[in-house]
């Protein structure tokens, strides 16, 4: 899988590259409009992460070029503007997702994977790890092909962990993903611990070869046993 990261802020560009490199993607980067245009027209990418405000042009202009050229890349817009217009124009021009800055790396990873999976759908839409299969369409968890009932939020949590397997998922990122990103006062995400505890119990009882380990008290990581 080949990714192009178009972002003019070197700090953010490097962090995104480093994070996505962990997922064994081939990463290329561009810091301005012209480099980005050149690369995106010359090479084929599975996914383009696109900032809107760029030196020399805007991400939306780039999208138009891609559309005109019939380039089949998946595009995720990352923007400091969340003006509804930008979002709508972006999605109209063929972007697949829109992420407002600042975001958690785990969230970006999850979005990239979701987009790639949608693209490479061959009839099934599921996540697999060890002896566990998570069927996204049916919203079902299968451990050793046996169904394990999960409630809506447990499913969302597990989904998020599987998209970020072996990666740090902070409590904040998890809370924002599952409970909505306008959680204003939930500065104290202790309640998540109980959710994780329940999920761990269910995974353990079903004999799943997955475990959720705590990382420095700030988040979790899903590991295969």
């Amino acid at each position: 899988m080949k990714l192009l990261i178009i972002e003019d802020e070197p700090g953010l560009r490097d962090a995104i590259s480093a994070s996505l490199a962990e997922e064994h993607f081939v990463i290329e980067t561009a810091g301005d409009f012209h480099t980005a245009l050149e690369k995106s027209l010359v090479y084929d990418y599975d996914c383009i992460i696109l900032d809107i405000m760029l030196p020399g042009g805007t991400g939306l202009q780039l999208l138009e070029h891609l559309k005109k050229d019939g380039k089949p890349a998946n595009v995720i817009i990352i923007s400091a503007r969340d003006a509804l217009d930008d979002k709508l124009t972006g999605l109209e021009l063929g972007a697949d997702d829109y992420l407002t800055k600042p975001f958690h790396l785990a969230e970006l990873t999850a979005r990239v994977k979701a987009v790639l999976r949608r693209k490479n759908l061959d009839g099934k839409n599921s996540l697999e790890a060890a002896n566990v299969v998570l069927d996204i369409n049916e919203r079902q968890l299968l451990v050793n092909e046996a169904n394990v009932p999960l409630n809506r939020k447990e499913f969302d949590i597990l989904n998020y962990f599987l998209l970020n397997k072996k990666r740090l998922v902070t409590k904040t990122a998890l809370a924002e993903h599952v409970w909505g990103d306008d959680i204003d006062q939930a500065d104290n995400f202790d309640f998540i611990y109980y959710q994780i505890k329940n999920l761990r119990k269910k995974l353990q009882a079903a004999g799943a070869d997955l475990e959720i380990v705590s990382v420095y008290g700030i988040g979790y990581k899903m590991e295969e046993k």
Partner: protein, 426 residues
Amino acid sequence: MTLLNRSLKYLSISLLPVVSLWAVVFYFNMLDEIKESVDEGLENYKRLLIQKARTSPEILTKDRMGENFFSVSEISRERALSARDRYVDTLIDMQDADDETPEPEPVRMLVTAFEQDGRYYTLHIINPMVEEDDLIEELFRETIGLYLILVTSIILINNFVLKRLWKPFYSLLQQLTQYRLGSSEHLPQAKTDTREFKNLQQAVNILLQHTTATYEQQKQFIGNASHELRTPLAIAISKLELLLEKGNLDEVQAGSISEVLQIVERLVRLNKSLLLLAKIENRQFLDNQAVSINKIVREGINDLEEIAAFRNVHISLKETAQLSVRMDAALAGVAVLNLLRNAVFHNVPDGMVHVHILQHAVRVCNTGKTEPLIPEKIFTRFYKPDAGTAGTGLGLAIVKAVCGLYNFTVSYQFDEDMHCFEISFA
């Protein structure tokens, strides 16, 4: 006290001494005038008497004031020659129709001397004078009357003229009271040719334009600043997350970085809330549609289920009506969720949250502190009753801003030991 009443007060107070002074001056002038005219009459009468005495000498024998208004008596030559015409005020007993017995009445008396046939006589002629008491009394009454008439006419004239004259002023004032920074489209305008009012209007409008410009700038500034902060915050968060993931840190270092990350995340929330407020105030949410409050409340409660359970707070929902409101769906969600979240977070263990959806309102009541909050302050930005809480202090300000945008009202009551917030959509 209105301008009208105040000017009336000062006018009537200052008119009183003016009218009184005028009455005194008028009285003395009048008295002088009367005396002068009486004296002229006496002088004329004197000439007639002296003439008549030459043809009818019996006049010379009238040495008493009887039915006549004069008396004649003989005097020595020396006295006659040294005598001059004298006018004196004196009293003489007289009986009027309203007197039972003769009473001393003021008279004007001319004392003169004349010579006839070598003999000298002195002549006293009298003429009844106005009684000064009566005159004063009458004048006093008239003065009071005049004063009252003056005040009445001033009231009438003031009412008519002043109201007319000040009409542009009151019109301007009314428009000013209704003027809202940022939402009023037109500057106050009053039709007038009066220079003072024109100047006032000009001054007010310049001030308003200036204030509006500042207000707009400030609004834009908050919005721009929040936007500009987003990229640096994104860099900070991703770098910290990477460091925690890859850094091979010991517990102490990881703890410190976690703390920093949490602080940055708090900054993100603060920034997001400020931006939301700025956007509400800039009216950037205008995707109005029929929104089911019932649905939004149910979703909100569902979102908060785990947090509430963790805090041992029980949420109950009572729907006595299906409430549908025309507004932006995202803002409806923000407002309702903020109220619900507050109710859960500012609660006590084993506490309660009662949500009630009524015909035109949604009411959220929760147990919590035993004393009421300060209604004037809770909706202001960054107001936090307990300094320890890590909330942004913007939740209720956002609720109020949303309500303000659609002319809804949000109110707080402390009712039966419950803190109750109500959004009225009517």
